[in-house]
Subunit: 200 residues, 2 copies
């Protein structure tokens, strides 16, 4: 074996099981490559070199370059985007939507995500990575609604993922047309439309 | 002048004013080029050759290749997507959303639109064309809500473009992740969430 991660005991591969140390090292290297080279200059080769890991090790954990990029993107996002749990559904949804928009406005996360969405339109591996990522996000964000349902704030017949999907799709539309500057009043209008409807 | 459209009296340019005959001929040529060559092989040169029009004539009317492609896309879409006016807002919104999803499932319109959205993430001219197109669509679709407001079905303080934006963003999200098969029950759930809210 010539994989450089095999040379360092701290990063020794343990087969198909993810080794957290190596995984973190690769994610950190991938983030550094992304920040230095941009998405156009991003490559698994460059990540492998920087992380002193073998390409097969990286591909064992991430099926595609896009899958690795989604993990890097989400890792960076988590810094700003704590999952809201305020105790009431209106504030949770406002925090969710404004957190998403704010994250995309700051620090290049929005640029990375919109590039990945664009990439997914032409590359099956990128689409698979986007789909897997979004399925995970919907499940995670759906907990806002599930908790609201146990508190009796949302009807039991509402699919938990529906509302986060409506809000995140709204945010996608804004990101992909460069209209991320959404006022607090607009955020409230979107959340209140979905929560309370638009009837008189 | 060597522009071929100048040679034919029927397609003579009349300066900055759009000549409907030439415009239709160019749109028809552009659609034919798109269907034959796909988006990757689409070029203003090929459209000019086919329409026997000059490239400057085309650029006088459409500021970019993307702007022309949005017109072609919308022209094709109109065949399936008649603007709904059923007399009640729930049926209008259901027809609007299901019409959009159906149009995207059929005849390559969805493939064209998602490619244009992807293109807009890297090309300022394509983003400008997408933004102009969406602003026009929001205004047009906002009339569903304006009419509902005059009928007293929707509160007067609701921004008319908000609801079509929520529904079309939902459809974008589905298109861009290849989940366009939305059941009638799901369409109703989306429309009813926005119309009536999700509270008990």
């Amino acid at each position: 074996m010539t994989e450089t991660d095999e040379a360092s005991p701290a990063r020794r591969s343990i087969g198909a099981t993810r080794n957290p140390a190596s995984q973190d090292a690769i994610l950190a290297a991938a983030e550094a490559v992304l920040l230095e080279n941009g998405l156009g200059g991003f490559s698994i080769e460059a990540v492998a070199r920087r992380a002193r890991a073998g390409k097969p090790t990286i591909y064992r954990w991430w099926p595609s370059q896009a899958a690795l990029l989604f993990d890097v993107y989400h890792n960076r996002k988590r810094i700003n985007f704590i999952h809201p749990d305020t105790g009431n559904v209106r504030d949770d949804l406002r925090a969710y939507l404004s957190g998403l928009l704010q994250t995309w406005r700051e620090g290049g996360s929005g640029e990375v995500f919109r590039s990945l969405v664009a990439k997914a339109q032409g590359e099956p591996a990128a689409l698979a990575a986007l789909s897997a990522y979004m399925a995970e996000r919907r499940e995670q964000s759906g907990r806002i609604i599930e908790k609201a349902q146990t508190r009796g704030e949302v009807r039991a017949d509402v699919a938990p993922t529906l509302v986060p999907e409506l809000l995140s799709s709204f945010a996608w539309g804004r990101l992909l047309t460069e209209r991320l500057d959404v006022s607090d009043a607009e955020i409230d209008a979107v959340v209140d439309a979905v929560l309370s409807g638009i009837k008189p």
